[in-house]
Amino acid sequence: MSTISLLKLTVNNHPGVLAHVCGLFARRAYNLEGVMVRPIAGGASKRSRMWLLVNEEERLQQLIRQTEKLIDVISVEQHDLEGSIFEQTEGFFV
């Protein structure tokens, strides 16, 4: 069974947000398989949407709680893999 999960984050559109998220993953040795991030359309781009593909099973809950603690992270949700941005863009990663 696959241990890959997809997380949908809403984050502040600040310089440094990506560093905070990736820094957390590096520091706690969480397996990060992919990242996609863009400002959320409209709303003067105060927020960004970040999609994370993670390879963690046992520690997924822990990973989510740690991510939620980041000040610039507004929300973290688990999302279905099917039809995800990563599936749709597979052709770019060959």
């Binding site: 310089p15 440094g16 820094g23 709680r65 939620e68 603690k69 000040i71």
Partner: protein
């Protein structure tokens, strides 16, 4: 851009430079002391500081500055500020910030950075402060305009103090420090946010579980100290007749000698303490993070017990243990809620069993009557002083001997570097503690190895005439490393002996303070007593043998039940 001072009085509007605004905001946060070292990239901040009511404590090394601010924060519970310049100033400060993170100390690091037009050019003393501070702070910023100060400074205090406290870092490029802005109104100071809400029902289920347990045990830690909940804890434990083990960070919550206190658990815990863990059927962890030094091998920790875990940090719950019941909340609020609905219980059988373990497997304080033995030295100091004194340490054997043997009687009396275990912590932390609580005497037990790591701060303590006593348990070795080599590396002693000895009493005098060497004294006990009792800084060199060991000891990675009891070697 020039380097000269800016005078706001010449402005018709309330105009501030970034630096002046920063200092104004710190004043409004109630900051009375900051500690730091100036340099090229924070000159404007130091320029603005001279017009302020805030007193600056000039440290002799940025790591000292960080630990001085930490000492203030640890005893006051308030967020405290340290300052450093860019480049080496920042890299010197890093250790103190990392230490604050692991021990949940609200430290605010404010550093100068090269001007924005120079960033990325490898300018003189440019360093990636944002990147360096990122993994060791709760949150960090690099400011791009002076306006951001209005938001970031209050937010920095709010974040440092809220939930589980911790350090934050604000990096301010020099052009931002110099930027002139008009400020119409200043923001409200940042405060600790309301604690997370919890369901009272969970408190009831917790109590039901405790009522139905036969051999329940409290495990109490630093979270209770930080929540100011020691009194509630005592009330809670007494009413439910719950024996309690304390973590290293929780020492003093139950006063020494309290009938329910089982002392410190874990790597250097008392034999009976670690044996009670084997027999209990419920562990109620309050404000603890199940650190490996406390739990030993996790899979074998409290083999018969279910776990209840109360912690304000959501990510601590389920991190190490899988609790049957967990409450994410301020532990003080949970205790208050529980106390409101408590029904007293007594557990004569369990208590008698615990007493029996205590009697049969006591903590042996070998040499506690001899001044020149570790426990004897610690007991002698404790018997001369009263409970108003605050105690801190460096890192090594001496730290563990103090944790085992000093009779702590109030929460907050004990300050030590737990999570990071930083040699060099003690002296600057003692300075901060004495600055924040000038009415209290501070004793820092140190080892000769640790003391040398921030010895330059002796000059700082002499300058401020602080009531600090540094007692060096001087074994002329890196004792704890020597112990590990003796026990686990077949006595292959490698790089643990100082072949050049230092005259610490003389060094103290050279730094402008009193220093005594009890090893050459005709009446060492009397001399110790007068040195401790008089006001003012003093270094007390107390020789001990390098063969002394901290026992019991659980091997790193071993189960708590497998304690090594030994002879000195």
């Amino acid at each position: 851009m020039t380097d000269s001072a800016i005078d706001p009085a010449t402005c018709s509007q309330p105009r501030f430079s970034g630096s002046q605004l920063l200092i104004k905001l710190l004043e409004r946060q109630g900051i009375t002391h900051v500690s730091g070292v100036p340099g090229g990239a924070n000159l404007p901040i130091y320029d603005a500081l001279t017009d302020s009511s805030i007193k600056h404590v000039l440290a002799r090394h940025e790591q000292g500055a960080g630990f001085i601010a930490q000492g203030m924060a640890r005893v006051s519970g308030k967020a405290q500020v340290c300052l450093a310049s860019s480049g080496p100033g920042v890299s010197n400060l890093i250790t103190a910030v990392a230490d604050a993170r692991l021990d949940s100390v609200p430290l605010i690091s404010i550093t100068g950075q090269v001007s924005q037009d120079m960033i990325g050019t490898d300018a003189f003393q440019e360093i990636d402060t944002f990147g360096l501070m990122l993994p060791i702070t709760k949150h960090n910023w690099m400011l791009r305009s002076a306006e951001e100060l209005l938001e970031v400074i209050p937010l920095a205090f709010e974040i440092a103090l809220s939930g589980r406290p911790g350090p934050v870092s604000i990096d301010i490029p020099k052009d931002v420090q110099n930027q002139l802005i008009e400020v119409e109104c200043l923001p409200e100071p940042g405060r600790r946010q309301a604690n997370p809400v919890f369901d009272r029902q969970q408190v009831e289920s917790m109590l039901e579980r405790i009522w139905s347990a036969r051999r329940p045990l409290l495990m109490i830690g630093g979270g209770i100290v930080y929540a100011g909940a020691a009194e509630s804890l005592v009330q809670f434990a007494e009413c439910l007749d719950l024996p309690a083990v304390q973590t290293f960070m929780g020492l003093g919550i139950l006063p020494d000698g309290h009938p329910l206190s089982l002392g410190m658990l874990g790597m250097h815990g008392a034999p009976y303490t670690n044996l009670v863990l084997e027999e209990c059927d419920l562990v109620i962890g309050l404000g603890v993070r199940f650190d490996d030094r406390a739990t030993g091998k996790v899979a074998e920790f409290c083999p018969q017990a279910e776990i209840i875990h109360v912690d304000i940090d959501h990510s601590e719950i389920d991190k190490i243990m899988r609790p049957a019941i967990s409450i994410r909340a301020d532990v003080g609020e949970v205790l208050q809620a529980a106390i409101g609905i408590l029904e007293p219980v007594s557990r004569p059988i369990w208590r008698r069993r615990v007493e029996q373990l205590k009697a049969n497997h006591p903590l042996m304080l070998d040499g506690e009557d001899e001044l020149f033995r570790p426990y004897g030295a610690i007991k002698a100091v404790a018997s001369i002083l009263d409970d108003s004194v605050s105690i801190t340490t460096d890192v090594g054997q001496h730290q563990m001997w103090v944790a085992q043997a000093y009779p702590f009687r109030r929460a907050g009396q004990w300050v030590s570097s737990g999570g990071l275990g930083t040699m060099g912590f003690g002296l600057p932390a003692a300075i901060g503690m004495a600055l924040a609580q000038p009415e209290r005497k501070v004793v820092c037990f140190s080892g000769d190895g640790s003391f040398l790591m921030n010895i330059q701060e002796l000059a700082t303590s002499a300058e401020h005439d602080l009531d600090i006593k540094i007692v060096i348990l001087n074994n002329r070795h890196l004792g704890l490393v020597r112990q590990q080599q003796s026990l686990f590396y077949a006595r292959n002693l490698s790089a643990v002996e100082f072949q050049q000895n230092v005259d610490y009493a003389l060094t103290a005098r050279a730094m402008g303070m009193k220093g005594i060497d009890l090893g050459v004294s005709d009446n060492p006990l009397a001399e110790l007593e007068s040195a401790l009792m008089e006001h003012g800084p003093c270094v007390i060199d107390l020789p001990i043998s390098e063969t002394e060991m901290v026992f019991p000891m659980v091997a790193p990675g071993g189960a708590n039940r497998e304690m090594i009891h030994g002879e000195s070697a």
